[in-house]
Symmetry: C2
Subunit: 395 residues, 2 copies
């Protein structure tokens, strides 16, 4: 294993940033049987690892997230995606905990993904659409290598929302003795037919863009911006509740068009402009092949698939304490899915608590101002810290 801290040359969006990165020359054996080597893992850490190495929290990001969970994201120059949750004195308190967040396998913020240059063939070229099909398990196996590199035997907690929650669940199943506690938020133990359907339409939008070029757009110096923007716009609708959209936009028109009675061939509703903004912002920071790769990994996710669809058996060996959190207005991963996880965990006698946060903000609420979520996360972490103290005292 070679530890390097170097300027990332592969991620075009990333030029100014000093990316924290580990390189594993021996690579990773993927679930599909392929060997991916070398393997690079870009990550950020916050806070200090204790001498006993027992205060590490791994945070897992969602489909289009990144490792910049707190402080200023050096790429976007905006606050990190969970900066309201992670930092000194915040619910995930970096004065107490050593927080690790790594860019997931297959993404485009420094960890090996379709944008990486292949080193398994003689001609230098990017993986592009030939990047192997990966799974959520492959993502957490990559994280495990990173965690091991710190000499951490057991994570105090693994926390994540949406696809991050899938990773948290997979950690509890795949590495039971290495995870003290798990907080899967706004997630599911499987991708449903509707989830797959939305992802599939997003991918088809990307493939329909003539600049997709069978995924080899980087060869031609183009990017399938329009297709990727359509995919993002559609996905963004699924992240919000109908109530949130109604409250925020309703049927409001763009200000400068209110008095126009002349038909124009453009959009006049504020909600349309908002989606355009979301779409165009996104394509500047994200890679189309990464979107395809990671969305497929989500589609393949089903914790019970190795156990004939029996989630109880999937959880048979878990050892972690769980706090399962759902969001009442989340229709992408509705509360019923979290309840199914809790029920299966109860069947194996796992220590599990369950909180449904009442919010009208939809799936995205876990990224937004939601005081009940803060209290729940902070309370759970304090509680298990106390439990562990008692356990250590007893032993």
């Amino acid at each position: 294993m070679v530890i390097s801290e170097k300027q990332d040359e592969k991620c075009e969006n990333n030029q100014e940033n000093l990316v924290q990165k580990l390189v594993f020359p021996e690579g990773l054996l993927l679930e599909n049987g392929q060997k991916l080597a070398p393997l690079e893992v870009a990550y950020q850490t916050y806070g200090q690892l204790s001498e006993a190495k027992d205060n590490a929290i791994l945070i897992c990001h969602a489909l289009t997230g990144d490792q910049y969970v707190s402080g200023i994201n050096p790429i976007t120059k905006k606050l990190g995606w969970w900066s309201k949750m992670v930092g000194p004195g915040l619910p995930i308190d970096t004065d107490k905990y050593f927080v690790i967040c790594s860019n997931v396998l297959g993404s485009c913020m420094g960890t090996t993904g379709p944008r990486s240059v292949r080193e398994d063939i003689s001609t230098a070229r990017r993986w592009g659409a030939e990047f192997p099909e990966i799974t959520i398990k492959d993502m957490i196996d990559t994280q495990k290598m990173l965690v091991d590199s710190f000499g951490i035997d057991r994570l105090f907690a693994v926390i994540g929302g949406s696809m991050g929650g899938m990773q948290a669940l997979q950690w509890a199943v795949s590495y039971p003795e290495h995870v003290y506690s798990v907080m899967p938020i706004a997630t599911s133990s499987f991708h449903s037919a509707q989830n797959i359907a939305f992802n599939e339409v997003g991918r088809q939008a990307i493939f329909s863009d003539p600049d997709w070029r069978e995924g080899e757009y980087w060869r031609y110096g183009v990017t399938p911006y329009r297709g990727l923007a359509v995919a993002r716009m559609m996905a963004h609708i699924t992240y919000l509740s109908e109530d949130a959209l109604n409250r925020k936009f309703g049927r409001k028109l763009q200000e400068n068009l209110k008095d126009s009675s002349v038909p124009i061939f453009g959009e006049r509703f504020q909600v349309a402009s908002y989606l355009h903004y979301q779409g165009s912002n996104f394509v500047r920071r994200f890679d189309a092949n990464s979107y395809v790769t990671i969305s497929r990994a989500m589609d393949w996710f089903d914790l019970s698939q190795m156990h004939d669809g029996d989630l109880v058996r999937a959880f048979a060996n878990v050892q972690s304490r769980f706090c399962v959190i759902s969001l009442s207005s989340d229709w992408l991963f509705p509360t019923s899915r979290s309840r199914a996880i809790v029920q299966a965990l109860n069947r194996v006698g796992a220590r599990v608590s369950f909180v449904e946060i009442t919010t009208d903000k939809g799936h995205d609420a876990f990224l937004l101002e939601e005081p009940d979520l803060d209290l729940t996360i902070q309370g759970f972490l304090s509680g298990i810290e106390e439990q562990r103290r008692l356990e250590n005292y007893a032993s």
Copy 2:
């Protein structure tokens, strides 16, 4: 007014069909102030108009529907879209009623729309993307001209689901004395932010297709098939409930791929193949400019907009009997929207009944096998027929 029954030369999909069509040379003054002339209205009728001309039922179709409501659709060679509901001895019994269904303004099955050749300019060319922006009101004004042409003063019923329900509501508001009863099914008095958002993403998918050519694809002999297919696939997800998708497809794989462990760059879930099928079927029969035009008309629909958002005032002058029907698992036009319609109708003392059909099939349930819906429609029609008999007897 010229009545003609002629081979439609404009609708490429339509060559073998003898389209019933009316031509109104004087045209229609649209809500946006433009005059659209001449105006052609393609329609189908089923059953016999009574001597008193009091047994006519107008059926209004949805976004991508057509006038072929019953029997065999001469274009697709399949059964008409509501053939289980409309026909001899069926809930909307053509042995008793004279059923009219016309292709909506802006569509592509014979009624004037973007595919029509302009006659307002000297150079022969299709409207394409320059087709005027139309509204649901413009659609029903077109239908009113057709209904008048039959000498029908008062329709016995106007019935429609989804966008068809919007038209039914608009009839009750715009022509109160000419509609004896109205059945809006799985619909809303306005398009919500989420409804608009989905439509907008669909349009952006179309505009992203290089074959869109700013809506002038017909000039180049191309069609934005891929963009239109993406729009349709996405819309199709919104027509189905999550439960229906789970029951029908779940996470099932394509049969021939079940044993394949080799990663392929294609889709393996049945739900994806189903969507591909829906998308590719659709683009063969529908015009992209029509999709854009009609989806915009839906977005603009808000019965209360002329009344400062007060739906009660919008209904102030209605005279019809209403049967409002919602579908319990419809998340595109949820039951709450139907309830709001009923509440507003109650406030003006309208005669209104309300039925929520319990189904897990989602928005599309009104087109599917749903015995409770059949019973509701049949029961309502029988009931108002009896009421009208009593009224006639009393007067």
